[in-house]
Amino acid sequence: MELTNENVLGKLIAQFGEENIRDAYNPDGIMTFTTNRENIIALIQYLYDDKDLQVQFLTTMAGIHFPDHKGMELCMMYQLHSLRHNFRLRIKVFTPAEDPILPTLTNIYATANWMEREAYDFYGFIFTGHPNLIRILNIEEMEYHPMLKQYPLEDQTREDKIDTYFGR
């Protein structure tokens, strides 16, 4: 079967229902859609197991923060790849900022382990069932999740900079 964005989407909607596969579009040729956290693991497992699709490679996971997107501030992006069919797709899951809880993907993809730790480190996502959810890149004592938009980039102790010309 030739995999196209349309027929894969149709297949997924048929499997999981219209309400769970939403907002599908192709920004850069890669099919992108949104699902919710109840279905994400089942969806990825389905994509993994399905004989026609064989989406068996997790390319990357990335957290995104939309502070203006009230109620759905945090977004987790999963990008998957079917090496057999050279077909990529991108799945997004939104969660509220005060409740950033997602199920872990480590049972399907071993590589999700550190990606999830990174997402926890950067955005504060909590992955239930993750074997070792601690900060990965920053020091354990850090008190905030630095990639959230409200936190400044700079080290506040820097002295040798004059801000006149930068306007940042």
Binding site: D28, F57, I126, N138
Partner: protein, 416 residues
């Protein structure tokens, strides 16, 4: 689904920590010694730590810690205009910075919808393959150093100097090249650069053949590497391996072939694959890739098309200096581009290139501002380094070190 507890951030974290401590206590066997490999161990090229549980010289368990040179690339990228991110990407995989530069440029070009002329694409291919050679060169010769053969390293390092000479002629720097611009190259290949590339193509095969001769069939080296740090294709895919490390397990996944970019479809080359996914296979795959890269450079060098070296995109590509000094229109564009006042289109782009270590992906979200809204790097090192623990278990200390060098983990890319 865990929607019941509001936010158990601290509680859950505490729980995780307790669990981890318990696990560590279980492992605290009287007969095991704990060895702290890193963060400043000589064989960790770059900085990461592994706490090893050893039974004599055999590694029973390892706990990796990374983040010792975490530099917050992704955060910085959110605060910098598009063109200022190029120097950042240089410093990610510093062994092959042109690939990072150009991968990033292609991502932005995809977002902006710019078409790049053939000549610029060919120049990019030459530079990217040179970068791949210099990356593999370091990796394989460092493998030699860690197994005790220092001399081969210095032989190929001399060739790397010549690659740097070419970079220097193209962009004016050796390592952190900041090469190319969004929309093409910064400048055309100078005659001297072309000459240097030609020289390199003539001289390098001999040096590389000599290096191979020193190690490839030496029994001491074979004994040290065969079967060491092996990983099966299935596990490797599950761990998200890409690039030479995946190909050593026998999977012929290569972004250059699967999703060709920058005219890679014009060139003829093979994807070398290994069988067992051990250190020796990784060594051979990288060796062979160097030969293939040479082949690609040769083709690109011979068939270098005429034409412009940058896209005709006045909104994004800086006008030539001479025009800036004389023409008002060019000056205005110049100001706008440098001040970052030209809005990028809204959108979401993923683009990947075959980096020195595998699929180097850039996931870019633009909200139309002067900076990316979110720029996520898919860093191959970060993704596959977590398999290291599994790969060294049951092996000896010396094996662990060779496995580490043959994986070619670049700390800058690992920690980002």
């Amino acid at each position: 689904m865990a929607t019941d507890n509001k936010t158990a951030d601290t509680d859950q974290l505490q729980e995780f920590r307790d669990n981890r401590d318990l696990k560590l206590q279980d492992k605290k066997n009287e007969n095991l010694t704990t060895l702290n490999l890193g963060p400043t161990h000589p064989a960790t090229h770059g900085i990461f730590q592994n706490i090893l549980q050893m039974d004599g010289e055999v590694i029973m368990d390892a706990v990796p810690t990374i983040g010792y040179i975490h530099r917050a690339f992704e955060k910085i990228a959110e605060r910098r205009p598009f063109y200022q991110i190029t120097p950042l990407t240089d410093r990610m995989n510093y062994c092959s910075s042109p690939i990072n530069n150009m991968g990033y440029h292609m991502t932005v070009e995809k977002l902006l919808g710019i078409e790049i002329p053939k000549r610029a694409q060919y120049i990019r291919v030459i530079m990217m393959e040179l970068a791949r050679i210099s990356d593999h060169l370091i990796c394989n010769s460092i493998l030699g150093v860690d197994s005790g053969a220092f001399t081969g390293f210095l032989y190929v390092m001399q060739e790397r100097e010549h690659i740097y000479d070419i970079y220097e002629e193209v962009c004016g720097a050796r390592l952190t090249t900041n090469m190319g611009r969004i929309g093409g190259m910064e400048r055309d290949l100078s005659p001297k650069a072309l000459h240097l590339i030609g020289e390199f193509l003539k001289r390098f095969p001999k040096v590389w053949a000599e290096f191979e001769k020193m190690l490839t069939r030496n029994r001491i080296f074979i004994d040290r590497t065969v079967g060491v740090g092996a990983i099966s294709a299935e596990r490797a895919l599950n761990y998200g391996f890409t690039g030479p490390n995946l190909r050593a397990t026998g999977v012929d996944y290569d972004v250059r072939v699967m999703n060709p970019y920058s005219s890679y479809e014009d060139f003829e080359f093979e994807i070398p694959v290994g069988e067992k996914g051990d250190t020796y296979d990784r060594f051979l795959v990288r060796n062979e890739e160097v030969w293939q890269s040479l082949k690609i450079i040769e083709q690109a060098y011979k068939n270098l098309p005429e034409g412009s070296y940058h896209a005709d995109a006045p909104h994004y590509y800086l006008p030539p200096k001479q025009e800036v000094y004389t023409s008002m229109e060019a000056l205005i564009y110049h100001f706008k581009i440098v001040m970052g006042e030209i809005d990028a289109p809204k959108g979401e782009v993923y683009h990947s290139v075959e980096g020195g270590n595998g699929e180097l992906g850039f996931y870019l979200i633009s909200d139309g501002g002067r900076t990316p809204y979110r720029l996520h790097f898919r860093r191959p090192c970060f993704i596959y380094y977590q398999a290291y623990t599994e790969m060294i278990k049951g092996g000896q200390l010396a094996d662990a070190i060779l496995t580490l060098s043959s994986l070619n983990v670049i700390a800058g890319e690992l920690d980002a």
